[in-house]
Amino acid sequence: MKTVDHKCPNCNANLKYNPKNKNWICEYCGGKFTLSDLKENEKNFKETSLEKSKEIKEETQNEMDEYYCEDCGAKIIADKNTAATFCVYCKNTAILKSRLTDKFSPSKIIPFTKTKEDAIEAFKQVGKHKFLMPKEFTDPKNIQELTGIYIPFWLYSCKMNGHVDGKATIVTTWSDYNYIYTKTDTYKVARSGDYSYKNIPVDGSVRFNDAIMNSIEPFDYSEMIDFSYSYLSGFLAEKYDVSKDEAKKITINRAYQSTIDDLVDKAHRGTFYYTTFVPDNKDYNIIEEDIQYVLLPVWMVNIKYNEKMYTFAMNGQTGKMIGDIPYSKKKAFIFWLILFTIIFIVTLIISYFI
C-alpha cells in the first residue's frame, strides 16, 4: 500500500498520524490537523506546489549553506552571502560547509531590528551606574567577536490549573494587669485557579546558555511574523537540538512556579490576612497547551579583558544587553572603607549627644 506523506500546513514538516485521536500531529510545531484540514491544504498546495516546490528547492539549495562544527556538534545555517567562519558556540574555526538539504522549518521569526552598531553602542553603555567596574572594560577594542544570530526557541503556551491547600493561623494578643494572652485560630485554606500563559520561551539550542537567554527576555511577540529565509541574510541561524519534551519540562516548571506562588499569596493574604500560612499540598494539571518553534534575534558579544573571557548578549529586537560585569576589588574595598568611616563617625557623634 502506498503510504501518503502529508506535509504540515504550518511548517512543511512530515506529519505523524495519531491513531488515538484520528488526526495528524506535527512534531516540529505541535499543530494538530484532521484529514479535511489536510485535504484542503493539499488541494491548494497542489495548485501552487509545482512552482512553490521549485522555489523552495531553489531557495534551500542555492541560497542556504549549512555549517557543521565537528568539535561541539553545532549546526549553523547561513545564506551563501554570509560566510560563517567560526563556530558561534565553541569558537572552532574548522567547520564544514555543505548545502542545506534537510528541513529547517521554524514557524515564526522576529527579525533583527538592532544593528551591529547598536550592539557596540549598547556595550559601551554597560558600565553606567556601575562605578566599581574598570572603565576600560567597555572599550570596543575588547570585543573579540560580535555575531548576529537567530537562536532557535520553543514558545510554550498553556492553561494550567493550580491547587494549593494548607493550614493558616490568625494570632491575636492582648493583656490585662496580670497576664499577656495569645489566641491562635487555625484554618484550613485552599485555593485553585486557571492560569493562562502565552509563549514562555526556552532556548532550543543545547549549546547556548539558558541563563543568558533568560536574561535578555522578554521579546515583543507582537512583532513576530511568519518565517521566511529572506530574513536570514546577513545573519547566522542555529538549528534546534533540544527536543520539544525537554523544552516543555522547563517551561512548565516556570509556569508552575508562578502559579503556585500566586496561589500561596492569595491564600495567605488574599481574602483574609492570615498571620501564617503553611502549604501542605501543591498540585497542577495542564488543561490546554500549544508549542511552536521560532527564531529570535540575539547579538552575541564575546569580550576578552584581563585574560578572562566574558559573554554578553543583546536582545536583537529590544536592545536589552546583559552580561556579568567585572568589578575592581581594590575600588570595592576603598568604597567600603569610605562608607565605614563615615557611618562610624556619624554614629559616634549621634551617640555623644543622646
Partner: protein, 267 residues
Amino acid sequence: MKKNVLLLFLLLFLIPVKVDAENLTPSVDNEIKIFDYADLLTATEEKMLETSITHFIEIEDLDMVIVTIDTNPYGVSDYYTEKYAEDFYLKNAYGKGNSNSGMIILLDMSNRYCFIKLFGSAVEFYSDNAIERMHDNAIDYVADGDYYEAFDSYIDDAYIYKNYDPYIGGDYDTPKRSVNLFWSLFLAVLVSSITLSVHIKKYKGIKLATNANAYLGNINITEKQDHFLTTFTTRVAIPHNNSGGSSGRSSSSHSSSSHSGGGGRHF
C-alpha cells in the same frame, strides 16, 4: 558579816562597767560647717564653702560638715582618720532628725587620706558607688593642692549623687562610652558590608529564570476555601515587683549596690 561585805565589795569589780574610749576631737559649734585646722584654705574660700554647705543643708535636708586636719590625735592610720570623722560628727551633735542624718568630709593630711562618713538616712541616699564617684571627681584636685576646688566638687556631687547610683543610673560612665564605641563599629561594619554586597549583586546580569510571571495572562480562581478548624489561648503571667518598693530613681539600687555608709580615698 565582815566576810560577806568583803565578798560583795569584790563582786562589784566583776560587774562589767562600760568605759568610754576617750573622744579626742574638739568641741565646736555645730552651726559652723567648715573647720580648716590644717590651714589649707584662705578666709574667703572658707566663707564661700560655708555658704555652699549651708545652701546644701537647706535644699537637701541633710547636715554636712567639712574638716581638714594635719595631725590626728588618735594616731596616723586610715582607722584613726575614720574614727576621728565619726567622733567629731557625733560629739558635736551634727545631723538632722532623730538619726542625725548627714555627712562629714574629713581631709586628714597626716596620712593623706580623705574620708566621707554618712549618718542616718544619708546612708541610704548615697551608695558606695556614689561615694567612689565623688572621690573620683575630687581627688585630683586634692593631690594638686587645689583644696577649694576639691571641696567644691564634693559639695556639687553631694547634690548629684544623692539617691543616684552611677552604675545603675547610667549617664556619666566611661563604661558606657566603650559600649558606644563597640556599637558604632558594629553598625558601621554591618551597614557598609550590606550596602556593598547589594551594589555588587547588580553586576551579575546573567540569571536563570525560575518563573513565568512575564507571560501570565488571564487568572480565574476556581476554588476558594477558608474553613475554621480550632482555637486555643495561652497566657503568660506579668511579674510585678512587690518587694517593699522604693521610690525614686534608685529603685533598683537597693538590691544590687552596697551602702556601707561612707568611704575613703588616698591621695
